[in-house]
């Protein structure tokens, strides 16, 4: 744990201090948001479209959306800040993020669905990599595919479909058994889950894919992190606490 007397408070940038691959997106930092994909016109007000969201990890994995109608909207209530995805055609993509040298990655997003839909909330490689999605009336689901498919879906009264969640998943294809391959926390706890897929994701490495946010999701996002490698239990707790403040979630 960080944050004691004389110790700098935690920020997600510390997760990348040794050159780890990945990305950190923070809609509360309006200086990282631009209306156009080229990053020329800054977002300045609630309701502006977002065509560019800067990566704060230091890796330069910025997200863009070049199609005007597919840009999410920056929203704020004066305290919290988020991107609103309309559930029709809004999404953002990064360029390729290469996680192909390893078997593990942390994927976290603080988000809330506004309406139930078939939604990929955050994905790196979609069904061929790692992602967190909800389908129809399904609850938050982690998917890992490094040769075959494993999924873990929340099945817990504490996790209704439209809740506001920090979904924090440590993926690791080198592990055996779905719950170890897809270690999914929601708002800091481990929900009861259903397990699905072929039974094991395979033990291959992760891929070299764009990271996507909000594809087909009617969702608000308070921030997201992707980090290659294994993240410690303590750092995952720090991430949950950090995003709880950003999203107004009570852990």
């Amino acid at each position: 744990m960080r944050g004691g007397s004389g110790i700098a408070p935690f920020t997600p940038s510390l997760l990348f201090s040794s050159g780890e691959q990945g990305a950190w997106y923070d809609p509360s930092d309006i200086s990282t948001l631009f209306q156009d994909a080229a990053g020329a016109t800054p977002v300045t007000a609630d309701g502006d479209p977002v065509g560019y969201m800067g990566d704060k990890s230091g890796n330069g994995n910025h997200m863009t959306q070049s199609i005007s109608a597919s840009r999410p909207i920056y929203k704020t209530d004066g305290t919290l800040h988020w991107l609103y995805f309309d559930g029709v055609d809004d999404y953002m993509d990064s360029d390729l993020i290469d996680l192909s040298t390893g078997t593990s990655a942390l994927m976290v997003q603080a988000r809330q669905l506004i309406s139930a839909n078939a939604s990929s909330n955050i994905s790196h490689g979609g069904g061929g990599g790692i992602q967190e999605y909800q389908r129809g009336n399904g609850a938050p689901t982690g998917l890992l595919n490094t040769g075959s498919i494993s999924v873990v879906q929340a099945d817990d009264a504490r996790v209704p479909i439209l809740g506001k969640y920090i979904v924090n998943i440590q993926f690791d294809s080198s592990k055996v058994g779905r719950l170890l391959e897809i270690d999914m926390q929601i708002n800091g706890f481990y929900p009861s889950v259903d397990e699905g897929g072929a039974g094991d994701s395979g033990s291959g490495n992760l891929g070299n894919y764009p990271l996507s946010l909000g594809q087909t999701a009617n969702m608000i996002s308070f921030g997201a992190i992707l980090r290659g490698g294994v993240t410690s239990v303590g750092d995952r707790e720090e991430v949950n606490e950090y995003l709880a403040i950003k999203s107004g979630v009570t852990l």
């Binding site: 156009d36 994909a37 300045t44 007000a45 609630d46 309701g47 502006d48 479209p49 065509g51 070049s66 199609i67 005007s68 109608a69 597919s70 840009r71 909207i73 309309d86 559930g87 029709v88 055609d89 506004i114 309406s115 839909n117 078939a118 990929s120 979609g126 069904g127 992602q131 999605y133 389908r135 129809g136 009336n137 399904g138 689901t141 998917l143 595919n145 498919i149 999924v151 873990v152 879906q153 259903d194 397990e195 699905g196 897929g197 009617n218």
Partner: protein, 137 residues
């Protein structure tokens, strides 16, 4: 306050997607706007298919949509004839979605795309109810 004070939702019948993408290029803000309408994933009560786009817009949108079109500077070679064909089919706040018009709902930016789609008389083409042993795209 944002200049994007309106939300516009557009239902393009599947037969007019190509022309509507040229119209989006003429009215939009990006040279990539010819990719605005992609999959026809919505349907009306008769099962006719539509590609839908929804976005926030500036108040000038309705005025621009009614004026003679010009190729934007970032897409000088766009197909103006196709865009004009699509423009002639526009019905703004005047029609539910039908196969012979491009129906548009224009409202304030606090309205949701889902409200607009309901006003257009459309539903998402049903997707299978996924279980944990099925695969997302």
């Amino acid at each position: 306050m944002s200049n994007y004070t309106q939300r516009v939702t557009i239902a393009t019948p599947i037969a007019h997607i190509q022309d509507a993408n040229q119209l989006a290029l003429a009215l939009g803000e990006s040279s990539a706007d010819d990719k605005t309408f992609t999959s026809a994933s919505y349907q009306d009560a008769q099962g006719n298919l539509y590609a839908v786009a929804s976005t926030v817009a500036k108040p000038i949108f309705a005025q621009m949509a009614g004026q003679p079109l010009k190729a934007p500077s970032d897409s000088p070679d766009m197909d103006l004839a196709a865009a004009t064909r699509a423009q002639s089919l526009l019905q703004i706040n005047n029609s539910i979605a039908t196969p012979d018009v491009i129906a548009v709902v224009l409202g304030s930016n606090d309205e949701s795309a889902q409200e607009h789609i309901k006003r257009l008389g459309l539903d998402h083409v049903p997707e299978p109810e996924y279980k944990t042993n099925e695969v997302a795209k």
